[in-house]
């Protein structure tokens, strides 16, 4: 019976059916299944499949985003039970991400956030036009490992530098890794402003974030 429900969980993620995923999560709680086991053997298995198919070019970005949403819905249902049992899901790291103040480009940043969360990071997406102080406040609040700043405008790139400087001024530079990206941002710009990580696209951002967590 258990294998059936795990398979259904995986399938709900593959199909990107949020309501179904949430329903199965609730059922798992009722049935007394350990939430961590439900996540690992059910939902994550589905996510892994979608990830593989996406890499192979068989599934498309909307498949991936819908799968991630279904996964999120399931986890939200399981969280109270995890808290009750005193367990927690293993995450690769916590990321605060957003598009810097003065810039409203949304899609690239959202994609990076989605892929990070699909790959096991806990992601707080602050949206667009985000004041630098808001990044810092949120990062402190959730004890983030990585702060991700996206920008697509040459006029707002400077805010990435200002942010690194602000972290230094606040004496918290060593507490966070700073990841930067966006259309005009280059590896040499990232180095110039003293950011810790850079990538040109979303899958690269996942690799960069994993490396940063490994201390690279």
């Amino acid at each position: 019976m258990s294998t059936d429900i795990f398979q259904a969980m995986a399938q709900s993620v593959i199909d990107g059916e949020k309501e179904e995923a949430a329903r199965l999560a609730r059922q798992a709680v009722t049935d007394g299944i350990d939430p961590l086991v439900a996540i690992d053997q059910g939902f994550v298995a589905g996510m892994r499949y979608v990830g593989e198919q996406y890499t192979l070019g068989e599934m498309f970005l909307p498949d991936l985003v819908l799968a991630a949403e279904a996964m999120k819905a399931a986890i939200a249902e399981l969280e109270p039970e995890m808290a009750r049992r005193g367990t927690a899901r293993q995450v690769l790291g916590t990321v605060v991400i957003g598009t810097v103040e003065g810039d409203i480009h949304d899609i690239g940043k959202t994609l990076v956030g989605t892929l990070l969360s699909a790959n096991g990071f806990k992601v707080y997406d602050l949206g667009v036009n985000v004041p630098l102080q808001t990044f810092l406040d949120k990062a402190l609040e959730v004890n983030a490992d990585i702060i991700g700043l996206s920008t697509l405008l040459t006029t707002t790139m400077i805010n990435q530098r200002k942010f690194v400087q602000a972290l230094e001024a606040a004496g918290v530079r060593s507490r966070f890794k700073v990841l930067v990206g966006g259309a005009p941002v280059t590896r040499s710009w990232a180095a110039e402003i003293g950011a810790d990580g850079y990538s040109e696209d979303a899958s690269g951002a996942v690799q960069a974030a994993i490396q940063l967590m490994q201390g690279g």
Binding site: G57, L61, I104, I107, T154, T155, T156, A183, D201
Partner: protein, 486 residues
């Protein structure tokens, strides 16, 4: 001196992908969306205007829901035709529905250096050099800010860019790099200095301004306020949707047209509510997302369809259209750039878009290439010739000449040939040389284009600006540079 500007006029045939019923349905769907879903206008000034005219405004989310009648009435006050004036009146551009003009593309961030071929960050000198090249090219009717002057302070960059173009060309300038009211005020002031005062500017707007909407169904506050400042000064103002099917718009082209249309016409309606009769234009560069990477493709069959369909919509609203064409993801002036830029531009031209943006950028409007700029101009020249169609009359049927030559023989020695041969298209950049010639040199169209660009830059002298005026503009820029960034 720049020569005559080449435009497409009186085409012999047109492309119209939408039927009248289709247009009506898209229009009605759009009004439904504006009235029931709403569009975000995150600007206090814009929200006040909407409220004053009876739209339903949610101040918390900045969402405006405007009744269909309000939108339709506002749009009716937009002038159907107007002229983009140039510093040199000979280069004025009538947006009268019977001309297609080409501009340079805009806001690239890197340049393929004309001498070294290396890719590097763009600077003010690039803006000046590209403007001077564009001034010499007859296919180019007006300028966008081609690349960003990254060696100038961010808060005045857009203004340095404007002055660099004016200093190097007497053609019309349309800026797309101004996104705050503060910059817009300064730009109007500079344009007044060039035009000879506020009234002269209003009568002959040598500057127009293009803003982006923020798909889906939103505007950018700063851009709205900048547009209001420009409209108040009498500058033509346009709003461009870049709705991307699958990411910032529905995955169906019809749905993408609706979302983009709602953004554009709601913004144009706002301009009319604020300043009835202000010259406004529709602008569009819709695309379809790359389903594998989420990337903004800007070039593909859907784009080509959008190019023609948008003009049908703009015509329906009786406003000029500025259409994104020549958009390519190619990294070099290659096969991909040729296919994407030819087809997008053909579709937009064959539906008579008033303005086309624009020549010269590669890699999703990020990297400037002089080679591509000239090759794009050639694409326009080819399409221009195609749309002139086939003239059928007594002279062109050439019966007398046919009789004179008779069967076999040839037409090389006919007066009729000499009289008409110059109306056949003349190649500038295709490689039609013997194979051996090519094999010895192994060069091709981009190389021919590069040589031409170098020649233009080495020799072309634009109609200069009065020295005192240049100095005044420079002083004003220095004053602005010294101001605290807003």
């Amino acid at each position: 001196m720049a020569g005559n500007i080449l435009s497409i006029s009186q085409p012999r045939f047109r492309v119209q992908p939408l039927s009248e019923t289709d247009i009506q349905r898209i229009h009605e769907a759009t009004l439904h969306v504006i009235e029931h879903v709403g569009v975000r206008f995150p600007s206090p000034r814009a929200l006040e205007l909407w409220q004053a005219h009876g739209a339903q405004v949610d101040l918390h989310t900045s969402t405006v829901r405007a009744p269909a009648a309000l939108i339709e009435k506002a749009l009716r006050s937009a002038p159907p035709t107007f002229t983009l004036a140039a510093r040199d009146p000979q280069q004025d551009l009538p947006l009268d529905g019977d001309h297609v003009f080409v501009g340079t593309d805009g806001c690239g961030v890197e340049v393929l250096d004309l001498e070294s071929g290396q890719r590097r960050r763009s600077c003010l000198q690039d803006v000046a050099d590209i403007a001077r090249t564009a001034d010499a090219l007859e296919e180019i009717g007006f300028h966008w800010v081609p690349v960003s002057a990254q060696d100038r302070p961010a808060h005045t960059r857009s203004l340095h860019e404007l002055c660099a173009i004016w200093g190097n060309s007497s053609k019309h300038v349309q800026t797309e790099s101004i996104v705050t009211a503060h910059e817009a005020h300064a730009a109007v002031r500079l344009a007044e200095m060039v035009a000879g005062g506020p009234l002269a500017l209003r009568q002959r707007p040598i500057l127009s301004i293009m803003q982006c909407t923020a798909s889906p169904l939103a505007q950018d506050g700063g851009s709205l306020e900048a547009a209001l400042v420009a409209a108040e000064a009498g500058l033509p103002v346009g709003f461009m949707t870049m709705a991307s099917a699958g990411s910032t718009a529905p995955a169906t082209p019809a749905g993408t047209l609706v979302v983009g249309n709602a953004e554009v016409i709601s913004a144009l309606a706002l301009m009319q509510l604020a300043f009835p009769g202000a010259p406004v234009f529709y602008a569009a560069a819709q695309t379809a997302m790359d389903m594998r990477t989420g990337g903004y493709t800007g070039g593909g069959p859907e784009d080509f369809l959008f190019g023609a369909a948008s003009n049908q919509l703009a015509d329906f609203y009786h406003v000029p259209l500025s259409m994104g064409s020549f958009a390519t993801g190619a990294k070099l002036p290659d096969w991909q750039a040729g296919v994407e830029n030819s087809l997008s531009t053909f579709m937009a031209c064959a539906s008579m878009a008033d303005m086309l943006l624009g020549v010269g950028l590669l890699h999703g409007s990020r990297i400037w290439s002089y080679e591509q700029m000239l090759l794009d101009c050639e694409i326009f020249a080819i399409i221009r010739r195609v749309l002139q169609g086939i003239r059928v009359d007594e002279d062109s049927l050439a019966l007398e000449t046919i009789a004179a030559v008779g069967p076999s023989s040839h037409y090389l020695a006919q007066k009729h040939t000499r009289q008409n041969m110059r109306s056949l298209w003349m190649n500038r950049f295709f490689d039609r040389r013997p194979y051996d010639t090519w094999e010895a040199l192994r060069d091709g169209p981009p190389d021919f284009a590069r040589a031409k660009a170098r020649q233009i830059l080495a020799s072309h002298q634009p109609q200069g600006m009065d020295e005192r005026l240049s100095a005044e503009l420079g002083d004003f820029l220095s004053y602005l540079d010294a101001e605290e960034p807003a």
